[in-house]
């Protein structure tokens, strides 16, 4: 089921998986990380972010963890990549790398002048 639902993997979901590959993050942390890794081009809004998070949770590609510290009001839900999520992110990254190689081979990306 997970394979079918995330085939193709939506951009927002992939961004979130990549963001979580580095460290466990809460919602705002994920948003910031995605913004950073896309050079500021992608700012996930709350609706898209939590919609994607729930879908990823449903398919067990990520899991929720207790943040532990902080007062009740400040306590945030943190998210962590599962083994399945890491596998799916890697598969997608490899697919993109293949595409990049093809783009290079067809001279879409230039070499540098030396």
């Amino acid at each position: 089921m997970a394979r079918k639902k995330f085939d193709p993997l939506p951009s927002a979901a992939f961004q979130i998986l990549v963001a979580l590959a580095g460290e466990d993050l809460h919602g705002y942390g994920i948003m910031r990380q995605v913004q950073q890794q896309t050079g500021g081009r992608t700012r996930l809004g709350p609706g898209t972010l939590y919609g994607s998070i729930r879908a990823l949770l449903d398919e067990r590609l990520i899991e929720e963890i207790e943040s532990g510290a902080g007062s009740e009001a400040e306590r945030r839900r943190f998210y962590r990549l599962t083994a399945a999520g890491r596998g799916m992110a890697r598969a997608e990254a490899e697919r993109l790398a293949d595409l990049l190689r093809a783009a290079r081979a067809n001279n879409l990306l230039e070499g540098d002048r030396v």
Binding site: G27, Y28, M31, G45, P46, G47, Y50, G51, R54, R76
Partner: protein, 469 residues
């Protein structure tokens, strides 16, 4: 707007989501909004924040509702054979919904109004500056304004067979680029008018393909400008990238690695038994990467009584490196003419160089048709300053003085944007090359130069013995 009020407004907007979603993530979404509101200050940042939120609502509300409905329908489908009714939303529509609806429209209206007034102001300012008014707005081919992109121009091979080329459009865009960037504004207007007239008269409609069209335009530009060879239109079969070419940290690192693996293009640097220093440079790499290696090579030949620079395979590079090496050949700052850059303090060599003994020694340059660009600058200036004897064959003739501008996916043009002071003569070596002082086949140039250099070295050595006595 205070943070509290803004959060209350966003809280209203959150009610557009199904109750289940709100229950699960409403607080988190609100917390995220508060964080962003706190971090993103200033009119532009706040406007962007609200725009983001509205776009997010527009995209995710229907998705979440659809999802919620599907879940309910799946539940209903279990009871087969019986019509069933499900209540999808367990809350009735409250009056506050009307208020939140009104709030959304007001915010959206305000944002549109702010953005529209901003844009009108900006485009008006732009056309005032350019002085080309509406033409600047309708042109299909905005020039890129990138000066770095130009250095690549000759690397992409032009090829035949273009489809869907509109000659008049290309000519019009070329004319507009000229008016914007050509170093001589008055001449630019005349050339552009000439080009437009010819385009209107249909002079370019007969061009068979993109390459032929580029050649026709280049020929006309040369005639209209009174012989400016750096003014060109070029056709590229592979689509040209849009926007200025960014120099990324990654490509800079790749360049550094490649150039270091090539020993900074320094093939040999040695003093032969007859006191002739021989240094073969196959390029003038970035001094930011190669300064230490270049200085070490020059130090190695410091004891020579005559120097041979072998530039037969040197395709050019960075003017900074040309100046760095030329500095060793003078005991005072000397002006080097570079057609690509306007005259600045960096146009003079940083001579004398501490501990250097090469300033007065005879210099020979080996040149060939493969000596191009930056290497030709080195040869041109040393020849003009009567500081070197050029041995071999005429150089390639690539000054690259035009800055590249993209016209569309397949056409670009080179336009000289600066006029460097040339105290040595008219124009540069684009298309004509630099003649040697001693003509010999490039293969035999080293042997010829060695004989000349050895003779000069002997003279200097003899002179030294006399004065030492």
């Amino acid at each position: 707007m205070s943070e509290k009020r803004a959060a209350a407004l966003y809280g209203w907007l959150l009610r557009l989501y199904p109750a289940a979603f709100r229950e699960q993530y409403g607080d988190e979404a609100l917390a995220l909004f508060r964080d962003r509101y706190r971090d993103e200050r200033g009119l532009m940042a706040r406007t962007r924040l609200w725009m983001d939120l509205l776009a997010d609502l527009a995209a995710s509300v229907p998705r979440e509702r659809r999802r919620f409905k599907m879940g309910a329908m799946a539940l209903a489908a279990h009871r087969t054979g019986m019509p069933s009714f499900q209540v999808l939303e367990d809350e009735s529509l409250r009056p506050s919904m009307a208020i939140s609806g009104a709030a959304v429209s007001t915010v959206a209206f305000c944002i549109c109004w702010i953005l529209m007034s901003h844009w009108t102001w900006q485009s008006r300012a732009e056309s005032d500056i350019n002085g080309v008014g509406a033409r600047a707005v309708v042109t299909i081919a905005a020039p890129t304004g990138s000066s770095e992109a130009g250095r690549n121009e000759k690397m992409l091979a032009p090829a035949a067979a273009a489809s869907g080329v509109d000659p008049e459009q290309v000519a019009q865009a070329a004319a507009l680029n000229l008016e914007r960037y050509y170093v001589d504004h008055e001449a630019a207007r005349k050339i552009a008018d000439g080009l437009r007239q010819r385009a209107k008269a249909g002079a370019y409609n007969g061009a068979g393909d993109g390459r032929a069209l580029a050649a026709m335009l280049t020929k006309d530009l040369m005639a209209l400008s009174g012989g400016d060879r750096a003014l060109t239109v070029n056709y590229f079969e592979a689509p040209l990238p849009e926007g200025p070419r960014a120099v990324s940290a990654e490509s800079a690192a790749r360049y550094r690695e490649a150039v270091q693996a090539q020993n900074c293009m320094i093939r040999t640097a040695e003093v032969q038994p007859d006191h002739v220093g021989y240094i073969r440079l196959d390029g003038f790499p970035d001094p930011g990467v190669c300064e230490a290696k270049a200085r070490a090579a020059m130090a190695k030949i410091n004891g020579a009584d005559a120097i041979i620079f072998d530039l037969r395979e040197n395709g050019g590079g960075y003017p900074g490196m040309v100046a760095l090496i030329a500095a060793y050949l003078f005991d005072h700052p000397e002006y080097l003419y570079n057609p690509r850059e306007a005259t600045t303090a960096n146009s003079w060599t940083r001579s004398p160089v501490n501990g250097n003994r090469l300033a007065g020694k005879p210099v020979f340059l080996l040149i060939s048709p493969r000596t191009r660009s930056g290497a030709e600058q080195f040869a041109y200036d040393l020849k003009a300053l009567k500081r070197a004897t050029l041995v071999g064959e005429k150089t390639g003739g690539a000054a690259h003085s035009g800055v590249f501008h993209r016209i569309d996916d397949h056409f670009g043009m080179g336009i000289p944007e600066v006029r460097a002071i040339n105290p040595f003569g008219e124009g540069d070596w684009e298309g004509v090359g630099i003649e040697p002082d001693v003509k010999t086949p490039a293969d035999a140039a080293l042997a010829t130069a060695e004989k000349l250099a050895a003779a000069r070295a002997r003279e200097i050595d003899a002179l030294r013995r006399i004065t030492a006595r």
